[in-house]
Structure formats: structure tokens, C-alpha cells
Symmetry: C2
Subunit: 487 residues, 2 copies
């Protein structure tokens, strides 16, 4: 398995991602930029998510503000509950995140939501001191992870959203009315969220500013098994880790054995699974893991994490939470807006429950890079085996040698294709070295213009993974790329 | 011309956009959400921008963090200069933006960058008082329009970026190195920016959180006329308002008459113009306006605004600024990072200059809606004549009547198309009423399944603008939409 450091090296050298504002020494940790290649992969990943989840399931997608008023987060519980335990050295005032510090110094794995007095007890029991000055710590404190912003000249209190879904909850009644929906109604949103982590780390894996693609399925809690589309996915094979045992079984078997509580949850886990199958992640290295009560977010009654195995261990990509009516009832209470709706199918007046698929985009991109990375020792090359529809560049146009007559044709081909596809023109360096550069960033097809092109208007297509070469007519290139850019 | 209020009504009713967190009374002004239809138009507009500017011109696109460290904005000048003049009532402490207040009460048009003592003088001269309590104002103050955020437990000072381009400047050297570029190198970015407006207003037109699509062209200041691709666009007709006179002329004529200072600027204004031609905005209602020295942003040496005429008057959509080496030299000075590069063409060591196209996405969307809105009195219908590639829904599938045999075929057609295209299924209500609903949100094609479909596997395509109807084979629908979703 390729190492985290190797992927980082590739990313820095080839423009997948790099630290934000790195020329400034005061740049805070936990902020990263997508370079040209990473940005393309990220955008194509989101497009695949739209195709295989949003459009497949007739979801509604919105795009809301990142700054939201204080009351939104009073209602959501984030003002009170969204905090990390931190410990401050009584002498040098160094600050540490308590759970991480305890894991690293005493080897004890405490959950993020560990109560303050529990932390104090462990610090005492194991006699843990400040590693910088060896003094003892003050009493454990809570550090709220939301970024506060002041609005207008009166500095009104507001926050950067710590999860995109709050927009969906507060907008639910208007959207439901506009879209004349039938429950279950899934509403999706992709965008930035912000968490003021005490200890951000590992580039894309724990960011302070990150992309989420969230889906909130509003449903009638009495109709969770009335999902006929479950039949379409009942044979999808899922791996579910219940803590005590790991099972690999179909969605139907999982339902029959009560490993999945209802058809609605089974359906959405399955289409999520089918989406990730298309990303190129090795699905044998994935699982749904049921969370213990201590691990679950404060709003979740049932929680499964979709995880993928990487060189750093299991990594959570998607939190799948049954949030019950927690969000709508809280927003209804604090805003005094009635949020019940008539279920047009059963004619009941209900406050919908919510099942969510909260997907981390940046972590998914990282996992795709790791799972696509291959070292082909025989041919001394590094190949990023990205699916063509996720590759930053779909095809490169290369004149075999630097001759005006070949360059002219190559440039013409490039100009005819570049608006419709992400293409790249590379005219300099030995052909072998150009192939190497393209393989390393995952370009699936290289088109070479050579002297035969002058005779018969054909070019060579070279396939990245197999290195196989085929002749194709120039006029057929457009339809070749049209077919190959689709999943 | 349709009114602002009519577009607002449509937007609220049909899910183009609506106020953020509207169920909360403490929701701050200046934040709006894109509903399902608006979100689709916005995404397709950005895709068109990518196609017609980024990919057409071989630009590099990145996506960086919105939160940036304090020093970035010390260097950029925003800490010192990015402020509005505000006046505070000495008694009731009401706050007003000085330039707007003076315009509304005394009818005097002062620029945003008016100095404080100038404001004090005008208030005095015209005896302007607080409209709430009739008391006089305190001395004029500056209100910085950046949102401050504190990072980590030490609350390190950082800001939400007020323009996306700062990311591009601070990342320039790394990107230039990775991409082995030749000057001019255009780097593009689309994303959110944030301005803490004193008086946000008019929904998408003056937001506190908004989308920008910015292009920064890094160039050798000695080579601004060495742009051979100028020849491709030299016949593009531009309307240029110089304040004293308005000229409609080709890019070449503008260059020859020194209305445009060099080929580089002429080229980018022209491809910007050609991009907007494809959005459906009436180009006879647009102009490039040269800004006076008082109007220009503090970093600009040459500034032209691309403006469009709306029901509210002329609206700035794109600021085209020649920023010289202001940004790179400032960032180089404050970060102490060397930012000169070797121009691989001329072999000079230079600090590149920058010409930018800073495009407001939300205002563009608003303008497109206004220019696409048509009331067809004869047929008693409202039609949003959006270009098919910008329409929120490309096609709708309608069973003519609610009969299982028609519904089954219609649903099959819908399911076969919906992953590849934004499709909509509408099975209820009279066919006339369904057409009206689709026309109002700009769906260009309605596909009707009727009893003939059962016989010959054809359906009707109804064209939104002409109401013309044609029969087409079901199996040809995919290629019909494939062709029609492209510009």
C-alpha cells in the first residue's frame, strides 16, 4: 500500500493540493488549496455524486449561505455541544486537545465527547504533565469548534456553519412547498463547512475548512419500510461491522437479520455503496461500521460510518446518521415556525424524521488517490489509475517530435476538443518522458500525432493502464472521448 | 422590461433563490440561498464560464481556502483600505453608510472611497441630520468590510477573503513552477467571497457572501502587444463608454484608436464579451465603462467595468482591472518570498503584472433571469427563455393523461435519461397547466407520451419558445438531448 507521504509528495509536485498561503509564516494550519489537477478531480467527483446519488434518486439540490445566525446553532445544539475538551498548562499556557493528548501519552483511547471530569481523573491517575515545561494542567475546558463572525456595524453574532446540513433543515418548509414533494424527500447540498479544530493534521484528512456533500432524507417515521425502490438494490453486497462481528451480506439479508433496521436505511446505504464503487476505491477495503453510543454524534439515534482502509488505517468518509426529528423539532422550537407537513401519501400531519449521508469530499479525494496509485516497477513508471471520468485531464495531444507539420495538426486537434473535454497539449521532451508525466497525474489517453498522420489522418491512442496503442481516425476522436468521459 | 419585483416573486415561488434562514428573525441581511432551480442555473453558468473562458484560453483553475491569514491582507492593502465611510448618530447611535446616506438625502453622488473629512464637510454644508432622532452625526469613521475570524485556541487573527484573487496571488509561484507555464499565464478560480456590507440590499445584487469567478492573467509588462491570439478576436464588436463618449467598434479599431491600451487587454475583453453572448443576455444592453480615477479600486491602474442594463439601471457584472505588479510586489515584500520569475519567452527576470476579469456570478444570474423573462400575452404565459445549456431542467417527461400504460413508458424514458441530463417527471394536472409550470422555470423541451406512443414508440417534443411540436422516436431522445445540452 502506498504511503501517506508518497501521496503528499505527488500532490505537492504535481498540483493536486498544497498548503494555503504557504509563503506566509503566519498561515494557520488546517487550510489547503486544490491545485489545477486536484481541483479537476474534486469537481468531477462532485459531478459523479450528482449523477449517481442526486439525479439517480431524484433528489433536490440547494446551495445556501455558509454564515448563519446564532439562533440556528442554539437550535442545532452546536453552541452547547460542539466542543472539544482542551487542557491548558498551568504555567506555560500551552494548549492540547485532551483526548489526543491522552491517547499519545498514556495510550488510552477516550472518545471525543469525553466529559471534562473524566479527563481530569485520567490526567491525575497517570500523572500526565505538560510535555513542554513539565507543569500540571488546569482543569479541563471545552473549546467550541465553530468560527464566530460579527455581522454589520453592530457586530451581530453569527457563525460559519460546521456542517452544510443546517441550511437544509432551516429551509426545509419552503423547499417542500415549492417542490410539491412526496415523502421521502431527499435534499442535497455540497459546499464548504468550517471547524476550528484544536489540532488539524494530515492535510486533507482533518481540515478547518472543508467540502461536505450532504444528503438529508426527510421521511415519515411510520413508513420506513414502505420504500419500494429497496427492491432495486436488495442484492447489493455490503460489509457491516457491528463491533462484535463483521458480516458481508446483501442488503436484503442485512434487513432480514435486523443488522439494518429498515428498508429506507438499507436503500440509501446501498446507493451510497454503488456510488463509491464507481470512484475506483477498492470496495474490498471498505465497510459500514456501526458506532457505539459513546461515539455517536449528539443528534444521532442510529449511526453507521462508511469507512475505507488507507495507509493510515480506517478512515471515515461518510457519516450515515438517523437524526430522528431532532433537527426540525429544535428549529421549530427556537424559531417558533411550525414545521409539520402533511404527508401526501398517508394523509398524516407529521414532523418528518431525517436520515443523512454526510460525505467528506476531501477525504474521499485522498482515498481515491491512494487507491489509484500504482508503481509499475517493470516499466519503471508511476501510474495513477483514475477512472477516466475522474481524471483531471481526459486526454493529451502530443506531436511525436517537434516538427511544424506535426505540431500544426496536433494543435488543431487540441483546439477542436478542448472546449468539450479537459485536454492537454504537450509538445516538448522525449515521448517517453511525456508519457511518464501524464501517467503520474492519471491521464487515461494519450493521442500521438506522427508521420503516418500526414498520410492517412489517423493518430495513435495510447491507453494509460495497459500501454496498448491503437490507431484511430482524427474525425472519430470526439465520439471516442464523448463515450469515455462517462461512467 | 420586467421589474425587479417580478423576478423576485418568480424566484421565491419557483425556487430560484430566497433569503437565508428565513424562519429566524435574527437572520442577518445580505445572505441568500440558491433553491433547486437557481442552484442548477448557477452551476451551469459556472460550467459555461469554464468552457468559454477557462478551457478556451488554456487557463489554469485552482480552488483555495476562504479563510486566510492576517498578513495576506496586510500585503493586499485590505486591512488599511477596504473600508466604507460610516456615520453614527451622536445621540441614538444609528449607523449609516455615508455615501449612500448623502445620495439619498442630498442627492449628491459621492464615490465609495470618499475621504472622511469630505463627508463631514457635506453633512455640515447641507445640514444633514439623523433621520431617526434628528440629532447630528459624530465624525465620519471607516468600517472595514472584512469578516474577522479567530483561529485555534489562541484565536489567531485571520479573515474571510473579500475577493477570491488573493489565493491566486499568494499561490502564484508554486503554480507557475508546477505548470511549466509560458507568460501570459491566466489563473482562474471560482468560489465564495465575503464583504461585511453596511447596507446589503437587492437580494443577489449586494450580498455579504457571494460567488466570484475571477481570472488573473499574469503577464510580462513589456510584451502586452505580443499576443498573437488577438488576431482571432480582432473583429469582435465592443461597446466602450469612456465617460465623455460611447463608441461601438471592433477590438482592432479600439486598439488602433487607443481606446484599449494594448492587445492583451483587448483580447481578454473580447473573449469575455463572447462568453456573455452565450448566456442569453441582450448584448445591445451591455457596455464596457472606463472608470474614473476616483471610482477605481485602490490597486487598479486601468479599470473597465462590464455592465448590463437591468430594470434597476446599469449593473456592474465584471471588473476588468490592470493591477500592474501591485499584488505580487506587496506579497513579496510582506512575506519576504521572492516572486520574480524568468519569462521563458524573452529570458527576462520579471515580476509579472496582472490583468484581471473579476466576475460576479450572482449578479450575472440575476441579469440572465431578467433578460430571459418574457410575458407572452397572446398565449397567457410567462416564459423564461433560458439557453438550454443554462436551463435548470433540460427536459420534462409528461404522460399525456394519468393512465398506467402511458405512465409506465414515461417513467421508463425518464429513468433512462435522468443520470445524463437534468430531467423532470410530471404526471399530474392538465397538460396545459404542466406546460405553463415548465415554461416559467425555463424548461426548453417537454416530451409527451400519448396513445400514439403505444403504437409507434414515438413521443412529442414541444419547444418552449415556439410551442412547436414534433414527433421523435424514443430511441433518438438521448442524442437529441446530448446535442441540445451543449452551447
Amino acid at each position: 500500500m502506498v504511503s501517506y507521504d508518497r501521496i503528499m509528495k505527488l500532490s505537492l509536485e504535481r498540483g493536486f493540493y498544497f498548503p494555503s498561503s504557504e509563503i506566509y509564516s503566519d498561515s494557520p494550519a488546517g487550510f489547503w488549496e486544490y491545485g489545477p489537477n486536484g481541483n479537476n478531480i474534486k469537481n468531477k467527483f462532485i459531478e459523479l455524486w450528482r449523477r449517481e446519488l442526486v439525479r439517480r434518486d431524484d433528489m433536490i439540490e440547494i446551495d445556501g449561505s455558509q454564515i448563519m445566525s446564532k439562533n440556528v446553532f442554539v437550535a442545532s445544539g452546536h453552541i452547547d455541544n460542539f466542543s472539544d475538551p482542551v487542557i491548558v498548562c498551568s504555567k506555560c499556557k500551552s494548549i492540547f486537545r485532551a483526548d489526543k493528548f491522552i491517547l499519545e501519552t498514556a495510550g488510552i483511547d477516550v472518545p471525543e465527547r469525553v466529559p471534562n471530569n473524566e479527563v481530569d481523573k485520567i490526567l491525575n491517575q497517570y500523572n500526565l504533565k505538560c510535555p513542554k515545561c513539565l507543569s500540571s494542567f488546569q482543569q479541563t475546558e471545552r473549546f467550541n469548534m465553530m468560527f464566530k463572525v460579527g455581522i454589520g456595524p453592530n457586530n451581530d453574532e453569527a457563525y460559519l456553519r460546521p456542517e452544510t446540513c443546517q441550511t437544509i433543515f432551516v429551509d426545509f418548509t419552503r423547499i417542500f412547498k415549492i417542490m410539491r414533494g412526496k415523502l421521502p424527500v431527499p435534499i442535497a447540498q455540497v459546499g464548504k463547512s468550517f471547524r476550528n479544530e484544536v489540532a488539524p493534521r494530515q492535510s486533507l484528512l482533518r481540515l478547518r475548512e472543508f467540502y461536505q456533500a450532504e444528503i438529508e432524507v426527510f421521511c415519515n417515521p411510520n413508513q420506513l419500510d414502505a420504500i419500494s425502490k429497496f427492491d432495486d438494490i436488495q442484492d447489493t453486497t455490503l460489509t457491516i461491522d457491528e463491533g462484535t462481528k463483521v458480516s458481508k451480506l446483501t442488503a436484503k439479508e442485512a434487513l432480514d437479520n435486523q443488522i439494518i433496521p429498515n428498508k429506507l436505511i438499507g436503500y440509501y446505504l446501498s446507493i451510497l455503496y454503488e456510488f463509491y464503487e464507481k470512484t475506483g476505491i477498492d470496495m474490498n477495503q471498505t465497510r459500514f461500521r456501526k458506532l457505539s453510543d459513546q461515539e455517536k454524534a449528539f443528534y444521532a439515534t442510529i449511526a453507521l460510518d462508511f469507512e475505507v482502509k488507507t495507509s493510515l488505517g480506517w478512515l471515515e468518509l461518510v457519516a450515515c446518521n438517523y437524526r430522528s426529528d431532532y433537527d426540525l423539532s429544535q428549529h421549530s422550537k427556537i424559531s417558533r415556525e411550525k414545521m409539520e407537513i402533511m404527508d401526501p401519501v398517508t394523509n398524516e400531519k407529521i414532523l418528518p424524521h431525517v436520515f443523512e449521508l454526510s460525505l467528506g469530499v476531501d477525504r474521499s479525494i485522498y482515498s481515491i488517490l491512494e487507491h489509484s496509485f500504482a508503481e509499475d516497477h517493470e516499466n519503471k513508471r508511476v501510474v495513477l489509475k483514475l477512472k477516466p471520468y475522474l481524471a483531471p485531464i481526459l486526454g493529451a495531444i502530443l506531436p511525436l517530435v517537434k516538427k511544424p507539420e506535426l505540431e500544426e495538426i496536433a494543435k488543431n486537434i487540441y483546439c477542436n476538443l478542448k472546449k468539450d473535454f479537459d485536454m492537454y497539449y504537450d509538445g516538448s521532451g522525449s515521448i517517453g518522458r511525456r508519457y511518464r508525466r501524464l501517467e503520474e497525474i492519471g491521464v487515461p489517453f494519450a493521442i500521438t500525432v506522427d508521420y503516418d498522420t500526414l498520410k492517412d489522418s489517423t493518430v495513435t491512442i495510447r491507453y494509460r493502464d495497459t500501454m496498448e496503442q491503437r490507431r484511430i481516425k482524427i474525425k472519430d476522436l470526439k465520439s471516442f472521448f464523448e463515450i469515455n468521459k462517462k461512467p
